[in-house]
């Protein structure tokens, strides 16, 4: 039987794959460059361990022995050289790493610990004052309502983007709705105010009716008219 047994040909499949490698570019004198490497290692020991490193020798002129010496001094620092770049392949000794070409620059990503997202509280829309507002004090809160648990002294001033609530006597000045909020109101338990204003429309103490004085009252805007009416 004549049979020819074709030897089974194992097809070797070659695949290309690209990796990211660090490229070292030594400069002259080599000793100085090695010192820089040492300084980096002092900062973060083990930074290059296990990472592919390529030596770009285009900036230096080294003999084959010189390159071998350089590679061994890097190895003694725990840095293993994967390949060379920037030198002629001819004339290099065989036990040196292969010469690479066609490298492309890429961004080396630093993996940093993920920042914990800070939960920003929703913007505050009211301001609570637990103490009386004294003469000469000026409270400005354009973002919203102001509530005072106590009185507002004569000569004190409250300025609010929203409404103003005073759980006590209002003897100073109160200006509500300063950002054009005509729906803002001013409430107080005892009205002795020097000035009331809503969205720019104001009344001074003289305009406030004598019957209202010292009573619980609210001020609100009726069109272009500032009205002050008793509460309850």
């Amino acid at each position: 039987m004549d049979s020819k047994v074709e030897p089974q040909r194992q097809v070797m499949r070659l695949r290309g794959r690209s990796y990211v490698a660090f490229v070292f570019s030594p400069f002259m004198p080599i000793m100085n460059w090695l010192e820089e490497i040492d300084a980096t290692l002092a900062h973060s020991p083990g930074f290059f361990v296990g990472r592919p490193i390529v030596l770009d020798l285009s900036a230096v002129e080294l003999s084959s022995r010189g390159i071998a010496h350089l590679i061994s001094s890097l190895e003694s620092r725990g840095i293993r050289v994967l390949g060379l770049e920037g030198v002629e392949a001819s004339g290099l000794e065989a036990d040196l790493p292969p010469v690479l070409s066609g490298g492309r620059g890429c961004l080396v990503e630093h993996v940093e610990p993920q920042k914990v997202e800070v939960q920003t509280p929703p913007p505050v829309s009211s301001l609570l004052l637990r103490n009386p507002v004294r003469s000469g004090q000026r409270i400005v809160f354009a973002e919203g309502d102001v509530t005072v648990l106590g009185s507002v002294g004569s000569g004190a001033e409250i300025v609010a983007g929203g409404s103003i609530h005073v759980y006590g006597a209002l003897r100073g000045r109160a200006m509500a709705g300063i950002n054009g909020n005509s729906a803002a109101r001013i409430y107080c338990q005892k009205i002795e105010a020097e000035l009331l204003a809503i969205d720019g429309y104001y009344q001074t103490a003289e305009d406030i009716g004598e019957t209202l004085r010292r009573q619980p009252a609210q001020a609100w805007l009726d069109g272009e008219l500032l009205r002050i009416t008793p509460l309850n």
Binding site: V133, G153, A156, R171
Partner: protein, 272 residues
């Protein structure tokens, strides 16, 4: 534990210095070791009210600047062993005071006395803010009329924001002392009454000092009113106020209108 007390008001002429001297003397009379400190640099008065003006050699500024030692500047009262005065300088102004200088002096005085009473200048500027800066407690002096009450309100706001205690988020104890109170006039509506004042200022009442000739008489002879005439109405009111500062509970007496005799009633009011 020493207490640093500031006597302040905002408005001038309401009786800060008189009250400082009277409260200081009253506390000393009650056995406490007291120093009264004049912060009114440039317009000092406390030395006169205390009757020590002829004995001033060194002052607050000298000590603050390291020219003199504290022990050299302190003047002991001739009548009361445990009462001392640290006078202000008359030739300098308030800019000569520094925050650090005041801090060091107050800290030093704390180690030597039971009470350090700081007599604040009027106003809300440097002198007044430095006088209150290191205080633990405050006596806010006011007269029963609107302008001094409003100024007192302003000062209370500053006590709550500009003192070291307030900046640390602690509560500074505040008391109101109403001086020159005339019950008759208050009843006739010519003065604010006690309730009005307390409602506006919203701090506890330390005492009510009646309007009295005795206060002026005592000032003129250079003596705190509690020493000059201990039986007088204002002296009694100051003694009670000092006891309240020490933590005693004493019923508040609203000074009553002095009774007029028959002739007094007949001739008391002059025709306008």
């Amino acid at each position: 534990m020493a207490k640093v007390l500031v006597v302040t008001s905002g408005k001038g002429g309401v009786g800060k210095t008189t009250s400082t001297a009277a409260l200081g003397a009253a506390l000393a009379q009650q056995g406490q070791k007291v120093v009264v400190v004049d912060f009114d640099v440039g317009l000092r008065n406390l030395d006169l009210i205390m009757g020590a003006e002829r004995r001033v050699v060194f002052d607050l500024i000298n000590v603050a600047q390291g020219v003199a030692k504290l022990s050299q500047a302190l003047i002991r009262d001739k009548r009361l062993e445990s009462l001392w005065l640290l006078p202000a300088s008359q030739t300098r102004d308030k800019d000569a005071l520094t925050d650090e200088g005041v801090r060091d002096i107050i800290a030093d005085l704390r180690t030597k006395f039971d009470w350090v009473i700081c007599d604040s200048p009027a106003g809300i500027e440097r002198g007044a803010t430095l006088a209150m800066r290191y205080a633990d407690e405050a006596v806010v002096v006011t007269n029963p009329e609107v302008s001094s009450v409003r100024d007192a309100d302003r000062i209370i706001g500053m006590l709550d924001s500009k003192t070291v205690k307030a900046e640390k988020g602690e509560q500074l104890k505040k008391h109101v002392l109403i001086t020159r109170y005339d019950t008759g006039r208050a009843n006739r509506g010519e003065m604010l009454n006690i309730d009005d004042i307390l409602e506006i200022l919203a701090i506890p009442l330390l005492g009510i000092i009646p309007e009295s000739q005795d206060v002026l008489k005592a000032s003129n002879v250079g003596s705190p009113v509690t020493l000059n005439n201990a039986a007088s109405m204002p002296a009694k009111a100051y003694m009670d106020a000092a006891r309240r500062l020490s933590g005693e509970t004493i019923a508040m007496v609203v000074p009553s209108e002095p009774r007029r005799g028959f002739m007094g009633r007949l001739l008391g009011r002059r025709a306008a």
